[in-house]
C-alpha cells in the first residue's frame, strides 16, 4: 500500500477507506466498432503488472466517492501521485517525488470562496 493515500480532495486517508479496482494504464477502446476483440481482450484481461511504478484505479468509497488514479511503486510501496480519474492524462511526467505520506495533507484550511480548484477546470474539457 500503501497505508495512506493522499486523496486530492480529502487529504491523507488510510487505505481501508478505499476500494481498489486495478490497473489504470489501459484505455477502454473508444466505442463499439472501434475496438477489435483483441483490443478488448487486452483492455479487460491483460495486465502490465509492472514491477515498479504503476497506476491503479482506487475509489475513495469512505470519503469523497471519487475514482482516483494512484501512481505508486509496487516494490517500495512509495506513492508518487494521486489524480482524479476524470482528469488523469496518463502517468505523470513528474520525476518520482518522495511523497511517501510524510507530506501533510493536501487539504488546506477550507477554501471559502468558489469551488474546488481541481474540478472547476474540468468543466471546460
Amino acid at each position: 500500500m500503501a497505508y495512506l493515500i493522499n486523496c486530492p480532495y480529502c487529504g491523507q486517508r488510510t487505505t481501508d477507506e478505499f476500494y481498489i479496482k486495478g490497473d489504470a494504464s489501459k484505455q477502454r477502446p473508444a466505442a463499439i466498432g472501434d475496438g477489435t476483440m483483441d483490443e478488448w481482450h487486452d483492455y479487460v484481461h491483460i495486465r502490465d503488472n509492472v514491477r515498479g511504478r504503476t497506476a491503479e484505479h482506487w475509489h475513495h468509497t469512505g470519503g469523497c466517492r471519487q475514482w482516483l488514479v494512484v501512481e505508486r511503486d509496487t516494490v517500495s510501496h512509495e506513492i508518487y501521485a494521486v489524480t482524479p480519474a476524470s482528469t488523469w492524462k496518463g502517468p505523470s511526467a513528474l520525476p518520482a517525488r518522495k511523497t511517501t505520506g510524510r507530506k501533510t495533507s493536501a487539504r488546506k484550511t477550507p477554501a471559502r470562496k468558489g469551488t474546488s480548484r481541481k474540478t472547476s477546470g474540468r468543466a471546460k474539457t
Binding site: M1, T15, I20, K21, G22, R47, N49, T74, H77
Partner: protein, 416 residues
C-alpha cells in the same frame, strides 16, 4: 541415503556427523533437456514428475533465491479438493490423491495431515451455493459432507454460532482435506528430484529467455547462459516478469497475501475452518502455532509484505468466527506475492511460442495443487500437449470466454 528411523538411529550413533546433503548444489550444465524456472513447489514437483513419470532427468530447476523462498514457504498450508467447476474439480482431486501417498513416494515426512476442512455458511443462499459445490464434488466421487449446526457444534463447540451479525448455520466439510508442512514439500520434492538426477540450482535468477526462429533455446541467468530444449515457467508471483522475457503478456496481476502465526499453544483447534462472511481460515500447526490468513491486501505488489489494515480485518473476521481467539497472540506476519489471474483459476498450458510452457496464476490456492500441478505440467512438457486434467486451464480462455470463475467475480484480479 534413505530416511528412516534406522538411518536416524545410525546417525545418532555417529553424532550426526555423516548426514549427506539433502540435495546436491551443482553448477549448471551448458544445456538441459528441460529447464524449469522457479524452484517453488510447482517447479520442483514438475522436475520430480518429469524424472519419475516421464524418465526425463536431464532437467534443471533454476531458483533465484533459496529453495522454497517463494510462496511454497509462506502459505497457510491448507489442502483440499472442494472445487465447483468441472475444469478444476478433477484436477484438485488428483492433487489430493497424490498428497495421500506423497511422503512414502519421495521419502520425506511432509506431515500430510488430513484433519478435515470445514467451510462455514451463514445464509440460505450461501448454503445453496455450498450444496451445489458439495454435490459437484460428490458427483466426481470426492468426499464432501454438509454439516448442520448440530454436527458442527460437536466438532467445534467454540464457534460463534449466534454471532451478533452472521450466525453460523452449518458447513461444507471435506474430511480428506487438511494441512501439510509447507517447507517440507519443497524439500521433499527437491530431494526426490535430485536423487533422480535433476539439478536443483539455487541463487540462479533467470534474467532473459533466448529465442531462435520462434523457438526458445535457453535462458540467461545470474550464473550465465544455460541452453535447453524446453522451458517450463513456474515462477508464481513473478510470472509476468519471466513470461515477458519471452514476449508473452499475461492476464495476471501480482498481489500480496499476508499470513500469520500465533505463539505456540497446546492443542486447541483440530481441523481447518474457514469463515464464510469475510476471508479467514485457520488451523493449528504441529508445532502448536495457529496458522491463519485472510484476504489479499488488494493492491498490486511485489514487496512480500502487507499493511496493518488487512491484518486488522483478518483478525476481526477471526474473532467473529471464534471469539476465544481473543487472548491468542499473533507472533509474526509475513507476505507472499501471488499471481492473481483474471478469473481466479490457474494456467497450465503450452504457449504460442514453441517449447515454452506456462504454469501460472495460482492465486491463493496453489499449495494444495502442488503435486498435481507438477504432475500435469510435467505431462504437458513431456508430451507437448496438456493432460485432460489440465485441459481447461488454458491461457487462451480469457480470449475465448471459457473462463473458470470459481468466485464469480469476473475479470478483476483482486476479487478472486
Amino acid at each position: 541415503m534413505k530416511y528412516s528411523i534406522f538411518s536416524l538411529a545410525r546417525n545418532a550413533w555417529s553424532g550426526h556427523k555423516n548426514w549427506q546433503p539433502a540435495w546436491r548444489s551443482p553448477d549448471p550444465k551448458p544445456e538441459y533437456d528441460v529447464i524449469i524456472v522457479g524452484g517453488g513447489g510447482h517447479g520442483l514437483a514438475t522436475a520430480y514428475y518429469l524424472a519419475k513419470v516421464h524418465g526425463i532427468t536431464n532437467v534443471a530447476v533454476l531458483e533465484k533465491g533459496y529453495l522454497g523462498s517463494g510462496n511454497i514457504g509462506r502459505n497457510t498450508t491448507i489442502i483440499r479438493s472442494n472445487y465447483l467447476l468441472p475444469g478444476n474439480n478433477p484436477f484438485y482431486e488428483k492433487s489430493l490423491q497424490l498428497w495421500e501417498g506423497l511422503e512414502q513416494d519421495f521419502n520425506f515426512n511432509a506431515m500430510v495431515s488430513q484433519r478435515g476442512v470445514v467451510n462455514l455458511f451463514h445464509s440460505d443462499g450461501q448454503r445453496d451455493a455450498y450444496v451445489r459445490r458439495g454435490n459437484a464434488m460428490r458427483i466426481h466421487g470426492v468426499d464432501a459432507e454438509i454439516l448442520d449446526q448440530h454436527a458442527l457444534h460437536d466438532m467445534m463447540p467454540f464457534l460463534n454460532f449466534e454471532n451478533g451479525r452472521f450466525p453460523i448455520m452449518g458447513g461444507l466439510c471435506q474430511r480428506r482435506g487438511g494441512t501439510v508442512r509447507h517447507d517440507a514439500v519443497a524439500w521433499g520434492f527437491a530431494r526426490g528430484a535430485d536423487m533422480r538426477g535433476v539439478d536443483v540450482i539455487q541463487h540462479c535468477e533467470v534474467t532473459g529467455i533466448k529465442r531462435e526462429k520462434g523457438k526458445v533455446v535457453g535462458v540467461e541467468t545470474s550464473k550465465g547462459f544455460i541452453g535447453c530444449k524446453k522451458i517450463g515457467l513456474a515462477a508464481a508471483g513473478n510470472s509476468t516478469t519471466v513470461a515477458r522475457m519471452a514476449g508473452l503478456e499475461l492476464p495476471i496481476e501480482s498481489h500480496v497475501l499476508q499470513a500469520f502465526v500465533t505463539e505456540g499453544i497446546k492443542p486447541w483447534l483440530d481441523n481447518v475452518v474457514t469463515y464464510g462472511v469475510g476471508h479467514f481460515y485457520i488451523s493449528q500447526s504441529d508445532k502448536g502455532g495457529l496458522v491463519f490468513g485472510g484476504d489479499i491486501d488488494g493492491y498490486n505488489s511485489y514487496a512480500q509484505r502487507g499493511n496493518l489494515p488487512t491484518v486488522e480485518h483478518v483478525v476481526e473476521c477471526g474473532l467473529a468466527m471464534i471469539p476465544s481467539l481473543s487472548r491468542a497472540r499473533v507472533l509474526r506476519s509475513w507476505g507472499g506475492i501471488m499471481d492473481m489471474s483474471m478469473d481466479g483459476s490457474p494456467i497450465i498450458d503450452k504457449t504460442h511460442i514453441d517449447n515454452l510452457y506456462l504454469n501460472a496464476g495460482w492465486c491463493y490456492g496453489g499449495f494444495k495443487a502442488t503435486p498435481a500441478s507438477g504432475w500435469c505440467f510435467a505431462h504437458t512438457i513431456a508430451n507437448d500437449a496438456p493432460h485432460e486434467l489440465n485441459s481447461a486451464m488454458r491461457l487462451d480462455r480469457f480470449r475465448t470466454g471459457y473462463v473458470m470463475d470459481e468466485t464469480a467475480h469476473g475479470a478483476q484480479a483482486n476479487l478472486h
